[in-house]
Symmetry: C2
Subunit: 299 residues, 2 copies
């Protein structure tokens, strides 16, 4: 296997994980958790979302979290911003990078943002421009690239068109998402082979959900094609198999373990990572779904 | 991806799954479950083990199960036999195929069979000879090919040597096992690339455990190399993430779903398969760990 040695994991648990957990975690526990993850060797943590608390009450303490965590050298602390108001708060809280988001499919975009795809661009452009003026790098999430809950299949050329428009705004990196966890390895190979005709692999991250158990298989196929940036959530947070409507981010601990076994990742301390997972699990009402956590409970 | 279209799943849940579940399932429920799996389109089911009840009391009803299930045309019904006594019972119960087993590593073989590898061969040879005389095809399980709980790494040439000896006895197919679920995709590629220098891919099955979540990723790598026979247990039976010492067979429902999505499997009715999984889950004390079962519980 001819694989890139420059693999990077981007931890999205404090945002994508917690926003899908019913239970609200105390602010001090979030801070402690993020600090522990910083100490584990992770180099990128999306710490929160500056979304209105009406939509995601679990993340209403975004400013306090961002201001109170210990910033470790070499770690990028990012946060999601849905609009200009969110961006203002993110800049005030001095995160390193902001993330914006939209969908590759019309109906998911409409359901999620209440706007058509073409109506979404100017709003995002304004946010990107302001973020850049404030010296922030910008990441974009493109949802439903591998399937849409309303439309089913999503044409990869439509996804590429959305990505093209986002890169043209000056966005630094796009994370393309298998939002509902339906991507399979053959499809991932087809879609990514098309993507590589248009974009640098250094600027495309893969955001796999493990709803159907294919996330690590899809990761291997992406690695074989030379992609090397992967999003995940510690412990599989937000995706407990026994919770209704769970979205199921691939688990950082399972991903990091596999990458280390494959000889592709050396910077993460898996024991510290597991301790950080155990810490947040102790604040939840149910066990985390990752395999590594399953093993640690059996020991 | 250049993949074989002749993929076959071999269901080992009634043997490898149930022997790792604490709870004893009623004989009539096992029979009903196996009949339901036959109806789902599975073409191979290992229905039990003719091992002494002292060792695996969960399977003490082996003869009754084998004699009472409905045999469906086109389905191979197999059973594990540890020795001549087991073979006699298997022949009496008229299974289609018998499986024997040993390990690729000395210490696991010693712990499991209480004999050295070289002491094991003549015993197995006698079983194979008798089975062949009775007109049965013979399958062999080779454990710890991808790692041993006592020795760690297992040299692939040692595993190949064991396989060579077993094939020389006239065994029809060998299932090489990642007994403790440690195989990673890079290792699978290395080991299988070595195996293909010695053996036909039509005679080597992969027996992955999903203890660390890598089973489907390993499956994809094996598929890419042209391997096309895979063992699994419905629902991930025997591998509940919350049970101590769980071995974690990859789940048939997750495997079949992925293979169908990849365009490689058409004969299994996933709905019937899921109903069969729900049936056996209803007889257990805890939910089955497969992703497909997680989804079905959320619907």
């Amino acid at each position: 296997m001819n694989l890139s040695k420059q693999v990077q994991i981007k931890e999205v648990g404090p945002r994508d994980g917690l926003q899908n957990e019913k239970k609200e975690i105390a602010t001090e526990d979030k801070i402690e958790w993020i600090n522990r993850m910083s100490e584990s060797g992770l180099s990128y943590i999306e710490i929160t979302s500056f979304v209105h608390p009406k939509w995601i009450p679990q993340l209403k303490d975004a400013v306090e979290v961002a201001k109170s965590i210990e910033r470790k050298d070499g770690v990028t602390y990012a946060a999601l911003v849905p609009n200009m108001k969110g961006l203002e708060r993110a800049i005030e809280a001095d995160v390193d990078e902001v993330s914006i988001f939209m969908s590759a499919s019309e109906s998911h975009n409409k359901n999620n943002i209440n706007k058509s795809i073409s109506e979404t661009y100017p709003i995002l452009r304004e946010v990107v421009d302001e973020a850049k003026k404030a010296g922030k790098s910008v990441r974009g999430y493109v949802s439903t690239v591998f399937g849409c809950p309303y439309e089913g299949n999503v044409d990869e050329h439509q996804a590429i068109d959305v990505c093209d428009n986002l890169f043209n705004m000056g966005i630094d990196e796009l994370s393309i998402g298998d939002t509902i966890g339906v991507a399979n390895p053959v499809q991932v190979e087809r879609v990514l082979s098309e993507f590589e005709k248009h974009f640098s692999k250094d600027k495309i991250a893969l955001h796999f959900h493990d709803t159907r158990g294919m996330a690590l298989a899809n990761t291997v196929v992406a690695l074989q094609l030379g992609y090397h940036i992967f999003d995940s959530a510690l412990g599989g947070l937000g995706g407990c198999p026994y919770a209704k409507g769970a979205s199921g981010n691939v688990a950082t601990d399972d991903l990091a373990h596999m990458l280390q076994q494959m000889g592709l990742e050396q910077s993460i301390d898996l024991n510290k990572l597991q301790e950080a997972a155990q810490f947040i699990e102790s604040k939840l009402d149910q066990p985390l779904p990752s395999k590594q956590m399953g093993i640690s409970r059996r020991l």
